[in-house]
């Protein structure tokens, strides 16, 4: 029975936290398009999510499909586990 290591959950939650800030700021900016501070914060976390995505993917494989992540050999996009399984 192969299971993901505790590290999977830790890094995943870091990514979820940063992505959550990005979702919140996106909705906020959709109604506040002139808030410069919020835009700066958005761009800061967009960079941070890039870093975390790279780190997560180097350990656990691609997060995104259709060319938004690189594949290893063999093709590992469709490797288990899926998000609802962990």
């Amino acid at each position: 029975m192969k299971q993901v290591p505790p590290e999977y959950y830790q890094i995943m939650e870091q990514l979820q936290a940063v992505d959550f800030v990005l979702v919140e700021l996106s909705l906020y900016l959709d109604t506040h398009n002139d808030d410069l501070e919020a835009i700066k914060q958005f761009n800061h976390y967009a960079k941070e999510r890039k870093r975390l995505k790279k780190m997560f993917e180097s350990k656990f494989g691609p997060l995104q499909q259709f060319g938004n992540s690189y594949s290893a050999y063999p093709w590992n996009w469709d490797d288990s586990p899926w998000p609802w399984q962990v």
Partner: protein, 189 residues
């Protein structure tokens, strides 16, 4: 277009094998005020709403699909290893007879999902008021499900989802204010 990310919006956990809670939760999967209805409503209304609020409808509609996946995850985990006996005891015998453990877009009473749940009036204010009402109704549904659940981990995820409805309602209210604004005037209220 859309693309998938192999990640839940929130780390979903449930503490026990509890098909009864799954039966209640399915309300937010295929019910009138559930996440599917929300996603489809906003992503459909956006084609006939002023450009200023299309981005908001697109983003909230997209987030609703992430919520739908969270609900599916909860239902999946609550029923995954349940026996037919347990499902029967939980009132899911009818469901099992038709679907085994497959998820299905219906509400807690087993009524199949219908597009009639979703209005698109083509009038921006009417549509946004519908959206605000939908968020408040979804918030209330989460309250009633939390009130019936003794699963602390499940409630943790449900609290997150309820809080999101509060934010969505807030943004739709702001969208109404943006549409009320006259050219060149600043929004205050």
């Amino acid at each position: 277009m859309w693309f998938y990310e192999k990640k839940l919006q929130y780390p979903v956990r449930v503490s026990t094998c509890n098909p009864t809670l799954a039966k209640f939760l399915i309300e937010q999967y295929g019910g009138a005020d559930g996440e599917l209805a929300a996603a489809l409503r906003y992503l459909n209304q956006r084609y006939t709403i002023p450009d200023k609020v299309i981005g908001l409808l697109t983003d909230i509609g997209t987030e609703e699909f992430a919520h739908l996946e969270m609900i599916a995850t909860m239902v999946y985990k609550l029923t995954k290893d349940a026996t037919p006996e347990q499902l029967k005891a939980a009132g899911l015998g009818d469901h099992y007879a038709d679907h085994d453990k497959a998820l299905f877009y219906h509400n807690a009473a087993g009524v199949p999902f219908t597009a009639a749940y979703i209005q698109a009036k083509g009038d921006p204010i009417a549509d946004l008021y519908e959206d605000i009402a939908a968020e408040e109704k979804a918030r209330a549904t989460y309250q009633w499900i939390i009130n019936m659940s003794d699963d602390p981990d499940l409630n943790d995820g449900l609290r997150f989802l309820r809080e999101r409805e509060i934010i969505h309602s807030q943004r739709f209210r702001e969208a109404v204010e943006i549409l009320k604004e006259e050219q060149g005037k600043k929004k205050i209220f």
